[in-house]
Symmetry: C2
Subunit: 673 residues, 2 copies
């Protein structure tokens, strides 16, 4: 392709964009790995966006009222690294660019929000950034309504490729954005017609323009290499009341021998071809060298927003101290002072009242106390509001005419919900929690993993957490989902046994700053087992002695959630036969693992036989507690599931699958031999 026309039509623009392309080629070649083509294709769009529209200050990447820029096509990470380096971001030095994808570098293969302040969200798994962006834009709407335009007023820009749009999550995200008229959300589609396997037509012939319109979006179609068209499109998009999709017709790996081919998607490292591409760009400096005039033009772009920021700081200083504190506290993810006392009061009350309620109901009781004192919480449900019980009376419903509403009807979109929750949390100022059935963790799984990986304290409220679901049958009965969540690093999995532990779990989940939580809650009613009020949060220990042996201690029963009551029942039967039995409630294995050895040994001393009870598969982390990590504790058994469930009333299923006090007693006796 002859680039002469592009170069000469807008030479100043061209040189700035060429800097992105050249840095990308150099960094990928040095790493001998990565993706050259996307940054080379989208450099023009990015340059115009950063130069003329994006409100940001490279010296303060976390300034709250910045526009957000999200690279959903995360494999094109050199686009964002080039931009940040050129703009003068303090973290992305030239050394970082040279060490792209190397051990310890901040310039990882895909952009990681926990490595670079200016990376709004970790991307790479396709479609996630787009769905995160919907959460960012919702958060902006909510906070603009709450704090006013002077404090919150920014756009969310997201770049997505064909892969993002083919993933199903894109439709969930598009539907949400369209439904809620998120006019400040602007998507650039890198319409280059190339995927890894070949042209897009190989696998897809969707009319994306028509599809976005069907989902309630404005669509603007442009040549993605024409800076004037790009500028006009962004200007028009910013005025729209609907979310905007700017379809940018681009050439992947523009100007390279691999342009417009699937080869162009990957690492372009051939020295001669690189040389030819740079010549076509009119780029004459050596590897990693950016001419000083171009660098200074970029640095001017990077500092363009400093004045905006100063003005914003002035405006922020003028709002009431109370509003400032609330704003700052929420962005810092600090809990309000009142939280601890409120949770204690609730615990005291339920330990006295001893209600027999499902833990999903107990969760609603906790939220009813918490939501009024934590205005930063935003709740929701994937079309199971009356089942998940995540909506409290004071929240209001988020809608086009009620941006202050704090409850979101997500629709039947578990995946989009989880990704948007992550986006809300990353935006700042909001603590999102939302629910679905625990089984449908499966649908939300890719975003739940990303919450853990990228240290986002989203709270996933997963009700109907076992065969206790009953008649809906095995498709709706989780058996492996506790194992899945527990196998995922940096995730708290809470399975509270009653209303007290549920309140304690909520307190921990809403205090976490870098760890997502999964609340595994029952459909069915459970007795209160914590009938003696304790001020301290015992769930924070992960596991604790709920009831100690009366006769000489021969047995430790360890149980979670709905099975703690079964353990207590088994204990009564065993004690009646003179077999001393301790019952340990273990609402959070991760927190128990984090305790010191002395505490763990105090709760689980060597000697007694141990039986774990949980209506789920044993693979859910049990062996460690039943046998000790080095196998030093002998003789253990497990009462739980080793198959999928079945359709029948819940009580009958517990009998059928042998998750009962009698079955527990039998296993204990077998072990005691």
């Amino acid at each position: 392709m002859d680039l002469t026309e592009l170069r000469t039509a807008n030479p100043e623009h061209w040189a700035k964009a060429a800097a992105i392309r050249a840095l990308t080629l150099d960094a990928v070649a040095a790493a001998n790995s990565g993706h050259s083509g996307m940054p080379m294709g989208m450099a023009d769009v990015a340059t115009v966006l950063f130069e003329k529209h994006l409100k940001f200050d490279a010296s303060a990447p976390k300034w709250p009222d910045r526009d957000r820029f999200i690279l959903s096509a995360g494999h094109g990470s050199m686009l964002i690294y080039s931009l940040l380096h050129l703009c003068g971001d303090a973290q992305v030095t030239l050394d970082q660019i040279k060490n792209f994808r190397q051990m310890g570098a901040l310039t990882a293969g895909h952009p990681e929000n926990f490595l670079l302040d200016a990376v709004e969200t970790t991307t790479g798994p396709l479609g996630q950034g787009l769905a995160n962006a919907v959460g960012f834009a919702m958060a902006e709407e909510m906070q603009r309504a709450q704090y006013g335009r002077k404090i919150v007023d920014h756009y969310t820009y997201v770049m997505a490729g064909d892969g993002c749009l083919m993933e199903g999550i894109s439709q969930e995200a598009m539907g949400l954005a369209g439904r809620h008229s998120l006019g400040k959300l602007i998507l650039f589609w890198d319409n280059n017609n190339i995927t890894i396997d070949g042209t897009v037509e190989l696998s897809d012939r969707t009319n994306q323009v028509q599809r976005f319109k069907a989902s309630g979006w404005q669509v603007i179609e442009i040549d993605g290499h024409d800076p004037v068209a790009i500028d006009e499109a962004i200007t028009a998009a910013k005025k729209s009341k609907k979310p905007s999709m700017i379809a940018c017709k681009t050439h992947i790996a523009l100007g390279h021998a691999a342009q417009d081919t699937s080869k162009g998607h990957g690492a372009l490292t051939d020295a001669d071809q690189m040389k030819a591409a740079k010549e076509a760009y009119g780029w004459t400096t050596g590897p990693f060298e950016v001419p000083a005039d171009i660098k200074s033009q970029w640095e001017a772009i990077g500092s363009r927003g400093a004045a905006d920021r100063a003005e914003w700081e002035g405006r922020f200083a003028e709002v009431s101290k109370q509003k400032q504190d609330r704003f700052n506290r929420a962005y810092a993810l600090d809990t309000p002072n009142k939280l601890s006392a409120a949770v204690k009061a609730l615990k005291k009350q339920v330990s006295e009242d001893q209600p027999k309620v499902a833990t999903r109901k107990a969760s609603e009781m906790a939220l009813a106390v918490i939501n009024p004192i934590m205005p930063e919480t935003v709740g929701g449900s994937a079309d199971l509001t009356g089942s998940n019980l995540t909506k409290t009376g004071d929240m209001g419903v988020f809608d086009t005419d009620n941006r202050k509403g704090r409850f979101v009807y997500w629709g039947i979109r578990e995946h989009g919900m989880a990704a948007a929750m992550n986006g809300m949390a990353l935006h700042g100022g909001i603590r999102p929690y939302s629910g679905t059935f625990f089984c449908f963790t499966d649908y939300a799984r890719p975003s739940m993993r990303l919450a853990a990986l990228s240290k986002i304290p989203s709270v996933f409220v997963m009700t109907h957490d076992s065969i206790g679901v009953g008649e809906d049958g095995p498709t709706h009965q989780p058996v492996e989902h506790l194992a899945i969540c527990r196998a995922t690093p940096n995730t708290y999995v809470f399975r509270p046994a009653d209303a007290v532990e549920t309140a304690e779990s909520w307190e921990i989940a809403l205090s976490a700053k870098e760890t997502p939580s999964v609340l595994s809650l029952t459909r069915q009613g459970l007795p209160t087992v914590r009938t003696e009020h304790k001020l301290s949060n015992l769930t924070a220990k992960g596991a604790y002695v709920l009831a100690d042996a009366e006769a000489k201690r021969q047995v430790i029963l360890i149980a979670t959630g709905s099975e703690v009551a079964i353990a207590l029942e088994a204990k009564a039967k065993l004690e009646a036969e003179g077999i001393g039995t301790r019952v340990v409630s273990m609402p959070c294995m991760e927190l128990f693992a984090a305790q010191d050895e002395a505490y763990r040994r105090k709760v689980l001393p060597a000697g007694p036989v141990r039986v774990g009870i949980e209506a789920a598969v044993r693979a859910g982390g049990w062996d460690k507690w039943l046998m000790g990590e080095r196998g030093q504790d002998k003789k253990a058994a497990f009462v739980g599931m080793d198959s999928f469930g079945a359709s029948a009333p819940a009580g009958e299923l517990y009998e059928k699958f042998g998750i009962t006090a009698d079955a527990t007693v039998a296993k204990v006796k077998d072990l005691l031999g």
Copy 2:
């Protein structure tokens, strides 16, 4: 709503549809659980479809050339149970209807393909049936091309609700169907504007008609209670070269007090309201009673296809014996006689050649041998063909002008791919396998669970299975995915160590009839560890002694996949110090667990210390083998991951995370004390 007009306009039709509605009300009331509204809303569509179009024979529900009917909105299971009972299906007796959702009944809460022959696929998790249906329709196209119209020529009908269409998987399925012009796929959209939380507008305002058109579908909009319009729409849809979506405007819970409300979605059990609804229907018989004339009309519908079937059997008898055998063998999921010999020959060759190849490459080598002798295999990749290495030269590419093609470019649609694979397998005659990166198991997870739950032998080829991925970083590096797959009941998880074990794994995966397989394969090259040819399939034992101790046995190292070579290296170091070390390769934990106690004890005798080595989290099923299920084997350790990975060259990551021979030796020495 006054039903008089509907009743009087088409009284014969009305009575048949009313039978479905009445049975639904009665069964849900008896169970005091279930979903009344959907069957009541879609009874007219179903009646017309079954009466006038669906090619089926209730006495032979598995007749291969039947039309397929899939209820994607599986919560409306009483629709399918009513239809089957009324048509005279031998399994769905009146007792089954009366025992809806009870222990042991075939009429489970959601339709289960493993309980009822006439249920084509298990549904309930929304969107799955729709995406399965795409696989069914692809399978029909493929086999029609292969066997000719006289043997294979049928439609796939699927009913979906708003929930199915909101789930992201629907877009993936729609895109595939549109891309491949699956004209014999006909979708009924139960357009009742109600979800559990309220009206659809609460969460969605998508223009579904426009969206389907954008995805390459024909759309027909009708009144879903008008039998003439329904008939005409189906007739038109059958003629279309595009897949058809019939948008059926319906009233959920038609004729009931809860009509057109979200309450109508659930269990309608109020006796007075039931009585009023039945009166509105003109239904005068008692609970579960269907007037004889109506029942006999339905039975005539049920036997309508018997003649079609007889004709088909005549045509089938006329094709060559060879074709008949191939057809019957593929439908029976039997392997060809040649398979075993071919795999043995490949094993012999690679154990002699000892190539250093990635197991994804070894997988390609196995497929190159297998695909030519198993014409029923259909391969594919979610836009990673050159990385997953699932395409062999002889397959051809499935396309509108090559329906015989056996390779599918699925695009960036892991979820839709997995669901369509399940559909293909359930259709019969096809063994689907397809690949993506192991990390993106996350996207495919809901369908992978359903493969296991509903006993579908799909083969998921998951490459790039550890931090061995290298520079792409933690988003692309699985650490918990082996744990996830192993925690799922009825799933074979193979992690072969070299080309020999890879070939063995493929043989088992393609011989399975009721169990899906996950092949966890490396990106990076591995040495051949099975250098001595054995005829028997050692992988089928799950684990075996790869190299026994030379000095006195003090240690057993257990490893999988890429870490087996590390175990061998550690063994060499230990033996050099006189520490006798056995190396056990464990390519499939599930198959090892299925061996008898004597074999397991032979491989893992008590006494020596044990160290497991796997570049993944310990929660992936390890403790059972390290310590014994009852904790009777002491002293164990694990070399693996306990966090997410990082972006850097693969070799450096293995060092960083301590998955090395030296780290293994150190753990052994610590245990030996």
